[in-house]
Amino acid sequence: MDLDSSSTSISSDHVHWRPALFADGEMAGPRLSAMAIAHRDGLHIATDDGRIRLVWPYEVLAISRPLRQQPDRYVLYPTPTDRRSTPTLLIDDARLIEDLGRRFPRLREQSGDRDRLGLAALALVTLGFLGFVFTFTPINVSKLTAEAVPDQVWERVGNNLRERMVEQMGRRCNAPRGAAALAQMTGKLTAGLDDGGRFDVWVVDWPVVNAFALPGRRIIATRGLLTAARAPSHVAGVLAHEIGHGLLRHPESHLMRTFWSSLLVQIVSGGSGGENLLNAGASLLHLRYSRDAEREADARALPILRAAAVPAAALTGVLELAAADEVLRASSAAAGGLLSTHPSTRERIAAVERAPRYPTEPILSTRAFEDLQRICQPGAP
């Protein structure tokens, strides 16, 4: 923008032109002597030889570093810059710096990126909104994405996770009669399920008292659980609870949640890959479901127990045993133990006590239960 007769009016405003050095960017030689003035419509520049006279509006003005009160050299230039060359003005006059700072305070901030604060604000608002939506509304992204994945995929994932956990925890127990008893118990518990889906239960030689639901309807029960149980209904209660988690896709949702957060971390950090996710999946070992998830699993397990004619009290049977027995309590409270992942709350026990009574029968014979408890013994039939 060239100067016009308004330059005359500038002089009459009793504001002063200040010395500066101008370079057009085409010639890399010494800068041309110039005068500059911070007027209300922009920075006016005029070279001493009169060849160049222009105005840079403040909106397009950028500076090499933020303006400060103390004397310093600054390079001013109009944006956007050109690929080849850009005119620049070098200033170090204190009065001009002060005038510029007053006319266009943005030069005191990190200029050159006008949208920086706006972008940051937009990002914060977006994150806040998403956080609100996912925290306080029923939208559960993890659950939605978990349900979108085909069952066959989850079964494969569950198999891989199960193998990983078995590697970490101990060998699989598969004594024939114990396995048959387990299959009988599982069959009775899942007989009444509408979708006809199978649950695959393994027993692992681990002394901790617990059971875990994995994606793809895989369940792992520990030797410790079988040993601690005083009756087959105790085992059935725990398995029914885990079946409840499986039917409600809690393991899948948890894994999806871990997947998304792990993905974000890996993208941002350029970090490591899949074995961390496998290990994170194996963290289902230590998963402590929310109270809501526990409540849902209990609610889902009650009809399963009823259909199998197992008393509702079986749901909390092992937990109550653990509460009463010090040794058992220590084992259950260990890392990965039943008490550490399924805290025994009065609420859970109260819900079980409120369940209507119905006729019950042993889910396994005494002989079959003994076979089940010996499933991990080497050489057991």
């Binding site: 090499s64 890959g273 899949g274």
Partner: protein, 319 residues
């Protein structure tokens, strides 16, 4: 940060100006994250869940192998971007070559370095430096890299290589010796007791290995300074030549203090360390010849304005 640092560098009484924006860096990073990294990360993660650990490890190795040339491409792109956003008297800089070509060069030279157990590293450095310097344009002036003599470079590198390999061997031998001594001295120990005894004797190993660290730092400093001297002596801008007055001890002191600054503050003060390194390099640089005459004779160079997404993603130094 760049804006502040660039404006602190003054050439012929003229401060450098950085014209890049945060938006460009953010957009570039996002594009690379979504278009390149996300598919790879998904492949490794989903593959691990579906096909197990073996697949994940194999995929990771392949991805890592692909990342070596990508890192070279990223370094070149980052350099091009930063030069194109660096103004001196209104003139910008850039790179005249291809980032893909540099990435390819970076990749296959890395293979040779691996196959030679690291002995070809100095050659690789010189090859890459030559390519970068030959294709660099500063304020409209192209730089030229003349093949330097390699005298002195391999000697210093050999010391560094031996220091590193020696320390690693010492570590392994030391571990083995301590383990053997535990078994020999107390044969009837349980695993827990043996482990405890092993831990008690470990400080002796550290007492031998830890003093090697300053040797490694000195070796690295000696090699880096020699490389810097070769590089500056081989680079010219028209008739102007360069040199550096950096010394091994000064650089080693800078390295150690920067390491302390960075790691004691858990990388919070890493920008300070980078600024100190830049200050050191700039202050040690000597210019021989009439730089202003060379620059005045030059004409503006129309260069591509590259993006820095890949560079940002790979965190190719802080700048």
């Amino acid at each position: 940060m760049r804006r502040r640092l660039w404006s602190s560098v003054v050439v012929l009484d003229e401060p450098l100006v950085y014209t890049g924006t945060g938006r460009e860096l953010l957009v570039g990073f996002a594009v690379v994250a979504v278009a390149l990294v996300l598919p790879l990360v998904l492949l490794v993660n989903i593959g691990a869940l579906l096909w197990g650990l073996q697949f994940a490890l194999t995929a990771k190795i392949l991805v890592f192998a692909a990342f070596v040339p990508l890192a070279g491409l990223a370094a070149y792109s980052a350099r091009r971007y930063r030069l194109s956003r660096t103004m001196w008297r209104g003139r910008t800089g850039g790179m005249t070559g291809s980032a893909l070509g540099f990435g390819w060069l970076s990749g296959w030279t890395a293979v040779f370095v691996l196959l030679s157990f690291g002995w070809l590293l100095p050659s690789r450095h010189l090859t890459l430096m030559r390519r970068l310097a030959d294709q660099t344009v500063l304020a409209g002036c192209p730089t030229i890299f003349e093949q330097p003599p390699r005298a002195g470079l391999y000697g210093r590198y050999a010391l560094l290589w031996l220091a590193i390999v020696g320390s690693v061997c010492l570590l392994f031998v030391g571990f083995g010796w301590i383990a053997h001594s535990v078994v020999r001295d107390q044969p009837g120990l349980t695993a827990a007791e043996a482990g405890e005894l092993f831990r008690q004797r470990l400080p002796w190993l550290l007492a031998v290995v830890v003093p090697c660290l300053p040797l490694m730092v000195l070796g690295y400093a000696a090699y880096t300074v020699r490389k810097l001297r070769l590089m500056t002596a081989a680079t010219r801008l028209g008739d102007v030549r360069f040199a550096t007055t950096a010394t091994t001890l000064a650089y080693a002191r800078l390295l150690l203090t920067n390491l302390m600054i960075t790691y004691v503050t858990l990388t919070a003060l890493r920008p300070v360390a980078e600024a100190r390194r830049l200050k050191f390099l700039v202050e040690q640089l000597v210019v021989h010849g009439d730089l202003s005459a060379v620059l005045e004779r030059s004409a503006p160079y129309a260069l591509d304005r590259g993006a820095d997404g890949l560079g940002q993603f790979f965190d190719v130094d802080l700048f």
